[in-house]
Amino acid sequence: MIHVEHVLIALALVLGLVGGFLLARSRLRPKAHQPEEVHQILLPFTGTEISRRAVDAAMRLARAEGATLMPAYLAQVPKSLPLECAIPNEAAKATSMLEAIEQRATAQGVPVDARIERGRSYRHALARLLAGETFDRVVVSATATGASGLSGDDLVWLLEKAPAEVMILRPGPDDQRVLSAANGRALAASGNGNGRG
């Protein structure tokens, strides 16, 4: 005669086996097959320092939207060299800056996927980056304008051509805080200590 207890035990065993099988199958499934949405925020920059305001804004957005921050160092390759050649000198600057941004972002729980992009000009490097990746937003600092960074024309071009929302940040006149490759910490630019912090 079959007791109720036996039925319950058998049922529990079956349920346990089925549950274990389903759990194991879900863990063994290759991750590449899982659909992944890429939410990315591009933070292009040049040189050996970047406006801290731009970095912080990009990180805030990335955290709020669960997006990945993509800091991208734009490198100019002289015409005398092949575009795809190794650029150790530029790479040395880029790696220090990317490390500084990455440490800051990681400390705030923002995932980072950094890049170094080459071009004949900063705009060309930016165009190559935009062509090769998908972005939801581009955050760029207006303080990067001038001889060593993106020009006003480059920013207008970016607004017209970028297939993403573009945020151009213009810090206040007293806000000269920058993130520098020197030590990875925020530094106040010379002549104004108001922005230290």
Partner: protein, 376 residues
């Protein structure tokens, strides 16, 4: 017939005094009673250099017609016929015009050495093939006349003619390098402090590597009777005896950081970097994986590193094979995720790598700095 002794005077730029020093040493050899001739000299209208050459026999140059222009070149045949004990031959990277015995002057020098004649010669560091791209990037000036690095490796002695950038610029301003009309143009273009400082560093590193590679080759092999030890310093000696880094990557963003850190270590060691991804056979390169592989390939190209993809289901076996093939001396791995389940019982990857790779290969774990700082 014994092979001639080969000494190269290496400089970071024109005007450091390579030719002057070569002539000075040539004069000293002549004073010591040796038969010394000038095979070819390029005095560049520098008074001090011309003065240093006085008293030394000069093998007459030969005239060669290049299109409508008649140029003077070293007369290799005349030099070999003269057969001195020591020949001074300037600018080994020079390209000969068509119709001569060899395309490049360093090939002429090889004939002179083979004839048992000792040779002193000169070259600037930017002429070395492997450094040409690096120097062009640093200075934005590309030198067309290059020579294989093996030329330096085959020399019995390499003498670095070192001068601080400030001293070189002072020499330039004093008119000791170029005529007055060319000085400002030189200062505005090539002769910048930052260019010269970078070139000086490249030169010093090059000579240090050359010395190190020779030292290690000599130590590695006993000297067979009747063989000059120097002859065993082959063109690929630095590759055989130098350090080589291998960074293990995966197609994920954190590998970008690992690669950058590995590259900085490679730069400090002055060595080459390989990146290796051991791809599981079942994994298809598509979607996010494809995007990350492309990003790694791009980064490798920017840094001048080699990106290798090995398809294998055993990571450690694949790494061990690549380490042997590439002669890697360091393996750099990123921090692993904490093991779960039965994986806790498994030996950690660094230990497995240590056991599987040849003795002497270091395994380094690249820490996640930001997380460590947070955790304090």
């Amino acid at each position: 017939m014994s092979h001639g002794h080969y000494k190269i005077f290496l400089g970071m730029a024109a005007g450091v005094g390579k030719t002057y020093r070569m002539l000075q040493e040539g004069q000293a050899e002549a004073d010591a009673g040796r038969d010394v001739v000038i095979g070819y000299l390029e005095p560049h209208d520098r008074e001090e250099t011309s003065a240093q050459a006085r008293g030394l026999e000069v093998v007459p140059r030969r005239r060669v017609q290049v299109r409508d222009v008649s140029v003077e070149e070293m007369d290799l045949g005349a030099l070999l016929n003269r057969g001195p004990e020591l020949a001074l031959i300037d600018e080994l990277a020079h390209s000969n015009p068509p119709g001569l015995e060899h395309r490049k002057r360093y090939e002429d020098i090889a004939d002179v050495l083979a004839a048992g004649i000792d040779v002193f010669s000169t070259v600037n560091v930017q002429h070395l093939e492997s450094l040409n791209d690096q120097v062009a990037e640093l200075t934005e000036v590309r030198v067309r006349e290059t020579v294989p690095d093996s030329v330096l490796g085959e020399a019995d002695e390499v003498v670095l003619i070192d001068l601080t950038p400030e001293a070189l610029i002072a020499r330039l301003r004093a008119g000791k390098i170029y005529p007055a009309s060319n000085i400002q143009a030189a200062l505005d273009n090539f002769f910048k402090i930052e260019n010269l400082a970078a070139l000086r560093e490249v030169s010093l590193r090059q000579v240090a590597e050359d010395v190190e590679s020779k030292r290690l080759v000599y130590n590695a092999e006993p000297d067979p009777v009747g063989t000059r030890a120097e002859e065993r310093v082959s063109a690929d000696a630095p590759k055989a005896v130098g350090e080589r880094l291998l960074a293990l990557v995966r197609p994920q963003p954190s590998s970008q950081r690992l690669v950058r850190r590995a590259w900085r270590s490679a730069q400090r060691l002055g060595t080459e970097l390989d990146l290796l991804w051991v791809k599981p056979p079942s994994l298809v390169i598509e979607g996010e994986v494809d995007r990350q592989v492309t990003a790694l390939r791009q980064l490798a190209s920017v840094l001048g590193a080699q990106f290798l993809i090995e398809e294998h289901d055993d990571l450690v076996a694949a790494v061990a094979r690549v380490v042997r093939e590439r002669g890697s001396t360091y393996i750099m791995v990123g921090e692993s995720e904490p093991p779960r389940g039965l994986a806790r019982l498994r030996e950690p990857l660094p230990q497995r790598l240590m056991r599987a790779t040849p003795p002497g290969v270091d395994v380094r774990i690249v820490a996640h700095r930001a997380l460590k700082e947070d955790g304090r």
